[in-house]
Amino acid sequence: MNVTHDTAQKTTTLHAIGRLDFEAAGGFQKDLEASVSSAAAAGNAVLIDCSALEYVSSAGLRVFLVGARAAKAASVPFAVYALTASVKEVFDVSGFGRIIDVLADRAGALEKVGRGA
């Protein structure tokens, strides 16, 4: 799994690329926690772009949960967007859509975290 970052419009975006399996989960968790904590200091929101995320297991879901919790605790607006079919299925079955804001696209996600045009 690869993650690239960009910051614009008071929003830090993590682009998650590849497979978020057990092996990748630890590194992604560190990355996401660091991003949430810098975003909190800068007053930014955090988004995860899942358009190139092909796979997620329960170990990967745990990272989304940890990230969403850290964001909530730090009052950082947080959302994920553009889930691929497999990842969406996992979110749906797990009921993660009820605890994390999941949007169809970037525009919707920006609006959700209060950065809409």
Binding site: S58, A59, L65, V90, V93, S94, I99
Partner: protein, 139 residues
């Protein structure tokens, strides 16, 4: 009809080779890539459960994975391990409605597997855990 079998130690380092084994089988059997996901997920969830919990207090636990595809796109995967006997189908079902503060992913893996597969069976066979997952792929 196509069959393949592999055998690995219960070590997280074997997850990537196991996934490669599944991918190779999938392409050899001419199955559609878009339908591989539930099997990849089941393989990781069940295997990592053996690594994290099933091998506690034991050494040299082996895990054997057997894949079968018939001519009607019926795919079956059998994961047999020599770890501690544990029937995951009788584990508590996670509360997928709990608020964020109370959520855990404990038990979520097997819940995903049960939901995404047509059939999941467990048996304790000669002192081994034997989990069979089966799905009829869309035409």
């Amino acid at each position: 009809m196509k069959t393949a079998r592999t055998d690995v130690g219960a070590d997280a380092a074997a997850l990537a080779p196991l996934q490669s084994f599944l991918c190779q089988f999938w392409s050899d059997a001419g199955l559609p890539d878009a339908e591989r996901f539930p099997f990849e997920l089941a393989l990781e969830e069940v295997f990592m459960n053996v690594v994290m919990h099933g091998s506690t207090g034991l050494s040299d636990v082996r895990v054997q994975v057997t894949l079968n595809a018939d001519d009607h796109r019926q795919v079956e995967m059998v994961i047999r391990d020599g770890g501690n006997l544990f029937d995951p189908l009788h584990a508590p079902v996670p509360d997928t409605d709990a608020p964020i503060e109370e959520r855990t992913v404990g038990g979520l893996g097997i819940h995903l597997v049960i939901t995404l597969m047509d059939e999941v069976r467990y048996s304790a066979d000669d002192g081994h855990n034997c989990l069979t997952v089966r799905k009829h792929l869309a035409a």
